[in-house]
């Protein structure tokens, strides 16, 4: 139990996938101009990432490892992810048009979020069991959502700032991400 809790804290804060593990930066930079969009992206990612993390564990342990097909890992994970995204999109489109309105446009973007592949690969690397994999995916996604939301709010505020011309736009966003990452380093050591 405590172990699971630590995994959550660890992935959300200490080893935040964006700021410390450096994964998922493309959506982090791309979908953080508006707070609303950031929240939507976070929600969509949370859903897909958790699912991908769990499913790829199953694929790895019930298909690849028994057949000694480790070299097909990348290939099969990416296929699984693409399928999940596709199914999710179709599913919520049918079942909840409301939800689709909110998350629909972000779903396709998730395929190119490298965290979605990175987390399953890290699961393999760190030998997580099924529950741990799920939590790792979930925690990672929550961490992603957290910093994405903070970051989007900051970027909205920066719109009015007297930033020197060359730094306006993505440059200052990068600097901000850097300082945010610096702040998150403060969590180091919280979970060993």
């Amino acid at each position: 139990m405590e172990n699971y809790f630590l995994i959550l804290i660890g992935t959300v804060l200490v080893n935040n996938i964006v700021l410390v593990k450096i994964l998922g930066l493309c959506p982090f930079m791309g979908v953080s101009k508006k707070l609303g969009a950031a929240v939507g992206m976070g929600a969509a990612t949370t859903f897909v990432l958790t699912l991908a993390s769990g499913l790829s564990y199953l694929v790895d342990h019930h298909f690849l490892i028994p057949n000694d097909l480790g070299y097909l890992r990348t290939l099969s994970f990416i296929v699984v992810i693409a399928a999940i995204v596709q199914f999710t999109e179709m599913f919520i489109r049918k079942s909840s048009p409301m939800l689709y309105q909110v998350l629909g446009i972000y779903l396709p973007l998730i395929t190119t979020n490298c965290a979605v592949l990175g987390i399953p690969l890290l699961n393999v690397q760190e030998n997580h069991n099924f529950i741990e994999s799920l939590l790792f995916g979930f925690g990672g996604a929550i961490g992603f959502t957290l910093v994405l939301t903070l970051f989007a709010a900051m970027r909205e505020r920066l719109e009015g700032a007297a930033i020197p011309a060359p730094f306006r736009g993505s440059a200052i966003a990068m600097v901000t991400a850097g300082l945010l990452s610096l702040a998150f380093l403060g969590f180091a050591g919280l979970v060993k």
Binding site: E156, R157, E159, G160, A161, A162
Partner: protein, 554 residues
């Protein structure tokens, strides 16, 4: 004692009322020339009803109210209309506006003045009287009183609030008025109360005007009206703040006091109501405080239309060191560029400003988000956020943070340690947003008309096609008769010829006009030259172009 409520924030700048409130109101002499703007109130400007050269009597209507939200303007003295043209007016833009200039003949011949027995008259007749007497709110917004004094709300009016707070520093005109003419003010209140039928009448006066409060109290004896002394805290005279102070009610955002059964009027307005109804005198003068860096600060009862320069002279003229003049109080007033501008109903104070009295603001620093402005804002806004968004032209956000609830009181700028002219940013953002909204509306209308036109064209095309098909059938029948000739449709040919002729004619006319006007340069000038008098035509064209914007309802 009535329980007083509190509004958030507020500031207490040095009062500087002593300078001008010691001496009684002095009548101002008649100036030689009076310039009466047609736009002295919110709503449509008045329409001139006299011509250049006309003789007018004192108090004669020279501009009639145009529509419901409008008010009349009157000749402040008898004399001759010498001009009806744009003239400098006291306005923050510094732009001229249409005015009627009257050369006073010094005879002071009045129109016939008839009191109206308001108690027995139809309320609408009383309101009509107010409108034709040009009675507007003198508290600042110059809103036509006949519109306001209408208990339109279904629930009726519960409270009539008389605003005698005069919370701005330096100004003392209401103070002196209440001290000296309390009885007449109360007469005006009676008329207002008669029109509104409120359950209670409250007169709010700041505690730095004990004499005025005492005088009003005395005058109110037996009327049931209650004089309430409120703490001196700017902007307690703001309508919404005063209502909150006195009744504890908040006027909902974007609504008017009538929506919560309250009406608020300035005490000076009450006085003019009394003069208009009980004496038949239209609003041709007002009490104005002349203070600041002048020799003898004092209040004067001055005719509308008197040039500000002369008003300054009344107080002995400006002392050396005067750099500019402020119309209104130092918190909400604006700087005046042109002293030729005349006094209007809206001007309650003229301040001669010198660097000693009004040190120029140091250059603004960036906002450090200290939050002092938010602590001072009577509307409980977050001025620093409004500034952030207005400054960066993020208008959607500015609106979302309730920019339009800002009453532009200036309390925030007053306390800002960075000396940022916050209100200027809010005004900029507000007018920018308003323009965009209007443009949006116009665009929407344009789109609708465009689509209508498309539909119409489509329909016409179909009809034409149908007709053509019919015709074709007919033509086929008559094919044998019609020899295949190259002559085109005679109808079309005739039309073409006619147009050609017209074109020739027009060209000739134009050449003639061009010869007369000697050298037309810009196309804008080229066009009106067809008119017999090129200059007039140009003026016409310009005023035409300018007129487009005000016709769009607000």
């Amino acid at each position: 004692m009535r329980t007083l409520y509190k509004f958030h924030g507020g500031v207490h700048p040095p009062e500087h009322k002593e300078e001008s409130n010691r001496l009684p109101i002095a009548p101002a002499p008649l100036p030689k020339r009076l310039t009466v703007p047609l736009r002295q109130h919110i709503g449509n400007p008045a329409i001139p009803v006299v011509k250049v050269g006309d003789q007018v009597l004192k108090g004669q209507m020279i501009g009639a109210a145009d529509g419901f939200i409008s008010a009349a303007v009157h000749a402040p003295a008898s004399g001759t209309v010498s001009a009806i043209e744009p003239h400098a007016v006291p306005h923050p833009s510094g732009l001229p506006d249409l005015c009627i200039t009257i050369e006073a003949d010094g005879e002071e011949r009045w129109i016939e003045r008839a009191p109206l027995d308001y108690r027995n008259a139809d309320p609408d007749a009383v309101r009509l009287r107010l409108r034709d007497a040009g009675v507007v709110g003198l508290g600042g917004a110059v809103f036509p009183s006949h519109v306001k004094l209408n208990p339109g709300a279904p629930a009726g009016i519960k409270t009539l609030v008389l605003n005698g707070a005069e919370c701005e520093p330096w100004i003392t005109s209401d103070d002196r008025l209440m001290r000296e003419r309390a009885a007449e003010v109360v007469e005006g209140i009676k008329i207002m109360a008669h029109l509104m039928r409120p359950e209670e009448v409250l007169i709010g006066i700041e505690d730095n005007k004990p004499e005025a409060a005492a005088a009003m109290q005395a005058a109110c004896r037996g009327t049931g009206y209650e004089v309430v002394v409120v703490p001196t805290l700017y902007p307690s005279g703001g309508e919404k703040q005063l209502i909150k102070l006195l009744t504890g009610k908040e006027v909902p955002a974007g609504r008017r006091p009538v929506n919560i059964g309250v009406t608020c009027s300035n005490t000076g307005t009450a006085y003019t109501v009394h003069r208009a109804v009980n004496h038949g005198e239209p609003v041709i003068s007002r009490i104005v405080t002349v203070t600041g860096n002048v020799l003898e600060p004092r209040n004067f009862e001055t005719l509308i239309g008197t040039p500000i320069a002369e008003i300054v002279q009344l107080a002995g003229g400006a002392r050396p060191g005067t750099t500019h003049y402020i119309m209104g109080g130092p918190m909400m007033g604006f700087g005046l560029d042109n002293l030729n501008a005349p006094l209007t109903k809206a001007v309650n104070c003229v301040i001669s400003a010198s660097p000693a009295l009004f040190p120029p603001a140091p250059p603004p620093m960036p906002c450090i988000r200290c939050g002092r402005c938010a602590q001072a804002c009577p509307c409980e806004l977050q001025p620093q956020e409004l500034f952030w968004f207005s400054h960066s032209r993020n208008f959607d956000k500015a609106r979302a943070y309730n920019l339009f609830d800002c009453i532009e009181c200036g309390a925030c700028s007053y306390v800002c340690p960075s000396h940022i002219p916050l209100v200027s940013y809010y005004r900029f953002a507000k007018s920018e947003i308003a323009t965009r909204d209007m443009e949006k509306k116009l665009a929407e209308q344009a789109r609708e008309r465009f689509e209508l036109k498309q539909q119409r064209l489509e329909r016409e095309k179909q009809e034409k096609a149908a007709r053509f098909a019919e015709k074709a059938a007919a033509a086929a029948a008559a094919k044998a008769a019609a020899a295949a000739s190259g002559v085109e449709d005679p109808e079309a040919a005739a039309k073409k010829a006619a147009i050609q002729a017209a074109v020739e004619r027009a060209k000739a006319k134009k050449a003639e006009a061009a010869a007369k006007a000697e050298g037309a340069e810009t196309p804008a000038e080229k066009i009106p030259q067809g008119d017999s008098d090129p200059l007039r035509a140009k003026a016409r064209a310009e005023s035409y172009a300018a007129s487009t914007e005000n016709n769009t309802d607000s």
